[in-house]
């Protein structure tokens, strides 16, 4: 089963919850040959500062599409997505690149590491172009790879490659961290979330708020 999470790093304990993403009647239709695929059918959603959101839903429910549009990777057919008031669905290509470059951290399902760069360099490739990044060594140290800095992806195990991808995602101190299937332990991970959004057939079918959030230590990985 697919799973997607949203997290906003700063202002975790702030009282006034600022809206980060506002999604309004978002529609996405893919035309594949003569068939039209409705990936999103008018989704409305607000995501707040400091929130950890998990998105759940079967394959084809629209999670990735929603994530991609919020990440500035895809365009909408109709509706809006705003990021701190800025309309991403109306943004030009150049603005989207800047948005990704300075605001968003990504962790990809298939890691997408650059094979010709070492673990350290893969992270540096991102910090090099960011505004106020952390030291790449520190990012790798957080994920426990301080000893494997100079290894190339082909020399790392799958788990290690995944941790490099996570280090790369957090290294620029992004405003939002978007992760596509970052872990296999999905069911437990939903316990950490503030909210769990269930998607089905392009609609939001249910939003569950966790009254009590588990801390990572309480979760059985």
């Amino acid at each position: 089963m697919d799973n997607t999470m949203f997290n906003e790093e700063t202002g975790i304990s702030s009282k006034i919850r600022e809206v980060v993403f506002q999604v309004k009647s978002l529609t996405k239709v893919y035309t594949m040959g003569e068939v039209k695929v409705h990936a999103l059918r008018g989704v409305d959603l607000e995501l707040y500062q400091g929130e950890l959101v998990v998105m759940l839903g079967p394959s084809g429910s629209g999670k990735s599409t929603l994530l991609n549009i919020m990440g500035g990777l895809d365009t909408a057919t109709d509706g809006h997505v705003t990021y701190f008031g800025k309309d991403l669905t109306r943004a030009a290509e150049k603005e989207l690149t800047e948005y990704r470059r300075y605001h968003v951290g990504f962790v990809f399902q298939f890691y997408n590491l650059i094979p010709s760069l070492t673990a350290l360099e893969n992270v540096t490739a991102v910090t090099e172009i960011a505004d106020k990044p952390m030291r790449p060594e520190d990012a790798l140290s957080i994920v426990g790879l301080a000893e494997r800095l100079n290894h190339f992806p082909s020399q790392l195990s799958g788990g290690e490659q995944q941790r490099v991808a996570i280090a790369r995602g957090i290294s620029k101190n992004p405003s939002v961290l978007l992760c596509d299937e970052p872990t296999g332990a999905l069911d437990s991970a939903t316990g950490m979330a503030d909210r769990v959004v269930h998607l089905s057939n392009g609609h939001i079918s249910e939003i569950i708020k966790n009254a009590v959030k588990k801390s990572p230590r309480e979760i059985h990985w």
């Binding site: 690149t97 470059r101 360099e121 490739a125 090099e128 172009i129 960011a130």
Partner: protein, 773 residues
């Protein structure tokens, strides 16, 4: 794949086109020449002499091996053409009075043959007629044996003897200032007191004749009549130049296509390798379904053959087109009645055979690898590429490189052979461009040396007969002549050990201010007071070096044979000669102070008067104005130069484009995933373009110096391969050629870069996140 196939097809087209262009032009010219020679009975042996009675003809025809003999009267004349003030000379050749020469027949293009009994009618050569816009019935003046005469043009014709119509000693044809005229024998006999005599003859040989023996016989017979030595076709000027040209074409046909075909083979190898690696899973499925290795292999072989056949087809068309163009350029120089353009099936078949052979040789390994892959292995994705820090980085320079720059150099170093071959491929494009411009650079240089450093006179005046110093004073007194210097030309045969060579000795004034000999570093040297100086290439032919004794057989007058020491070898690019101090030469000949002509410098203001006087002076046989000669040379060659540069640019461009585009395209397909990932991570389009195109830019830039080296080598080979006693092409490449070659290569690389970056701009960012590598 479409674009890549197109790029490869382009390279094959270039290769096949050059092959076809050179070979078909050579074959066509050869065929045309053979046909013209046959139909118009081009003679096998030629000889000039002072004067012999007509009766000698019968003794010559009795020489074993001689078939038909024709005697002639030939004279050099000055022409006076209305509206053209510069000196014009012509060779006047007799025609039998019935207008039907036995040998060297004329192809009449316009008008008619000379009427019997008419002593003022001439046939003129076509090139000369075109240069002056002459038609039948037009007239011009001629000084024939000192007497001024108006000649009427009866017809315009071509002769197998003068396919290339070049004044002896000139550097190139000059149709404005040198022509061939034909006139009735009786008229010429009367003008030159040659009644019942001849001074020139041509003959054909029977099939079993031994030409060497015939020549010896003839020389013996003609010696007492002032024979200048009989010679065969191979030493006949027009034939000689044509043969040289064929030799050049043959060399080009071997060299250039080889370059293209190997580049095409390399590109096919790269592309097939890539296709095989992207189609691993499909190959596996086919094999799992029971297709044999042979089936799978043949699939790719068919693909290769299809690409090659497209290239060969296109190459044949382009080659025939270029061949026709080249043939027509040759027709400007070589005057045939018609060009029988022919693209032999064997040439087309050879082009196809060579291309397919090379392409398969280049791809056989990739195809074989594809065919023998075990299906289970083929279904698994390719193992991840292994990288490591490059040598440069390990040398401690790592900190100077950004991450994208590191990606570039690691990619290059990961596949050193492929990178190297790409560099060589691009370098070859640069080299071809240089080769295309080489002839122009070399000829510029030859002209500079010949006319800027060596021959500084404004004009050279030749006398009808060797004259005394008095004739020179006459020259000096002409209004407008600033300075005059005498020279002596003596026809000779040089002999050293078993080798011999026919040429002339030039006698130069001891302190010549106009004529300089140059050493191998092109520094002027003084002509020594005794002994002889030879052109270095002539020294090689004779196997003689300074200090050796040279035997000189003089071919005029009392025909003495003398020994003279060689004192130096000098650099000369055009022709072969011996040079002596004029006094020493006259001492050697024991003939006092005889002179053959004078070198003059003149005040340009008085040129028209000087030209007029020179036409009128009976003693003057002809005048060559150096400036006109050089200008004419460039005029006649400009089109050919342009054609070669045009072809070279097309070819170099297609190679550079083919190599760069293919490398770029493959790099893009191999790396679109990581580039798209970087885009998602916030890299701009410009930044990822840098990673992909930076690699190609680096390879292209690295290829330039390599290309310069290969190009220089190629030109050195050409200059060596083309050298002959007619001319030696020096290895000279102007800096403009280097920069033009680099520019063409970089521009082609840039164009492929632009095409690729268009694709980079449309990378699907979402797709790469959905798939595992």
């Amino acid at each position: 794949m479409k674009g890549q196939a197109f790029a490869i097809v382009l390279v094959i087209i270039s290769g096949v086109a050059t092959f076809v262009m050179f070979l078909s032009t050579m074959n066509s010219l050869n065929l045309t020449r053979t046909r013209f020679y046959q139909d118009y009975r081009f003679a096998d042996v030629f000889a000039s002499l002072k004067r012999a009675p007509e009766g000698l003809k019968y003794r010559i025809s009795e020489i074993p091996g001689v078939d038909k003999v024709e005697t002639r009267v030939v004279a050099d004349v000055k022409l006076d053409i209305k509206g053209f003030h510069e000196p014009v000379t012509a060779k006047l050749i007799s025609l039998p009075d019935d207008g039907r020469p036995l040998l060297n027949m004329l192809y009449l293009r316009k008008g008619r043959m000379v009427e019997t009994g008419k002593d003022n009618e001439v046939i003129i050569s076509e090139a000369f007629a075109e240069a002056h816009g002459f038609s039948p019935h037009d007239t011009f003046g001629a000084v024939i044996n000192g007497r001024w005469k108006t000649l009427v043009i009866a017809g315009i014709a071509l002769s197998p003897e003068h396919v290339l119509q070049v004044r002896p000693g000139a550097i190139s044809p000059d149709y404005k200032r040198y022509g061939i005229l034909w006139m009735n024998r009786s008229a010429l006999e009367a003008a030159y007191n040659m009644k019942g005599a001849f001074n020139d003859l041509a003959l054909t040989l029977s099939a079993d004749a031994k030409i060497g023996d015939v020549l010896v016989h003839m020389d013996n017979l003609l010696e007492r009549y002032g024979g200048l030595g009989a010679y065969g076709r191979k030493d006949q000027m027009s034939h000689r130049y044509l043969t040289e040209e064929f030799r050049q074409l043959q060399r080009m046909a071997e060299m250039f296509p080889a370059i293209f075909i190997s580049v095409a083979a390399f590109l096919l190898n790269v592309v097939i390798n890539r296709i095989v690696s992207t189609q691993r899973d499909q190959i596996a499925i086919l094999k799992a379904f029971g297709y044999s290795n042979l089936n799978v292999g043949l699939h790719y072989v068919k693909l290769v053959i299809l690409i090659v056949l497209l290239g060969v087809g296109g190459g044949l068309v382009v080659g025939a087109w270029l061949g026709n163009g080249l043939g027509n350029i040759y027709m400007e120089f070589y005057r045939f009645p018609f060009l029988m353009y022919e693209l032999r099936p064997s040439v087309a078949a050879a082009a196809a055979f060579i291309s397919i052979g090379a392409a398969l040789a280049g791809t056989v390994y990739a195809v074989w690898k594809a065919a023998v892959f075990p299906p289970a292995e083929a279904m698994r994705p390719e193992p991840p590429a292994q990288y490591r820090a490059t040598i440069i980085e390990r040398m401690g320079l790592q900190r100077f490189f950004s991450q994208p720059s590191r990606m570039i150099i690691r990619n290059i170093e990961r596949r050193p052979i492929k990178s190297l071959l790409s560099i060589i491929g691009i370098a070859l494009a640069c080299a071809i461009m240089m080769a295309g411009r080489f002839s122009k650079d070399a000829i510029d240089f030859m002209v500079d040396v010949q006319f800027g450093l060596s021959h500084k006179e404004d004009m050279a005046v030749t006398f009808v007969e060797p004259a005394s110093m008095k004739a020179v004073h006459e020259m000096k007194d002409l209004k407008g002549v600033q300075y005059a210097e005498i020279f002596r030309t003596v026809p000779v045969r040089f002999k050293f050990q078993h080798r011999s060579y026919r040429t002339t000795i030039q006698g130069i004034e001891p302190d010549s201010r106009l004529h300089f000999l140059l050493d191998t570093h092109l520094k002027p040297i003084h002509i020594p007071s005794s002994g002889i100086v030879l052109t270095d290439y002539l020294g090689n032919i004779l196997g003689i070096k300074p200090g050796d004794m040279l035997t000189v057989e003089v071919m005029e007058g009392s025909r003495p044979v003398r020994q003279v020491p060689v004192v130096a070898l000098v650099k000369e690019y055009i022709g072969l000669s011996g040079y002596m101090n004029l006094t020493a030469l006259n001492r050697l000949l024991r003939e006092g102070d005889a002179v053959s002509g004078a070198y003059l410098t003149v005040d340009a203001l008085f040129l028209p008067e000087i030209y007029r006087t020179l036409i009128e002076l009976p003693r003057v046989a002809g005048t060559v104005v150096i400036k006109d000669e050089v200008k004419n040379f460039y005029d006649t060659h400009a089109e050919a130069f342009l054609f070669f540069v045009f072809v070279a640019t097309l070819l170099a461009g297609s190679i550079a484009f083919g190599v760069v585009y293919n490398s770029a395209r493959i790099a893009l397909s191999e790396r679109s995933r990581e580039l798209a990932s970087l885009r998602v991570l916030g890299y701009t389009r410009a930044e990822i373009s840098y990673i992909l195109l930076g690699e190609l830019a680096l390879l292209s830039l690295a290829a330039i110096p390599v290309g310069f080296l290969i190009g220089r080598g190629l030109c050195a080979y050409m200059s060596k391969a083309l050298e002959s006693d007619l001319y030696r092409v020096p290895l000279i490449l102007e800096s403009a050629t280097y920069s033009l070659s680099a520019t063409v290569v970089l521009a082609s690389a840039f164009v492929s870069g632009v095409i690729i970056s268009y694709r980079l701009y449309h990378l699907d960012l979402v797709a790469v996140l959905k798939t595992k590598e």
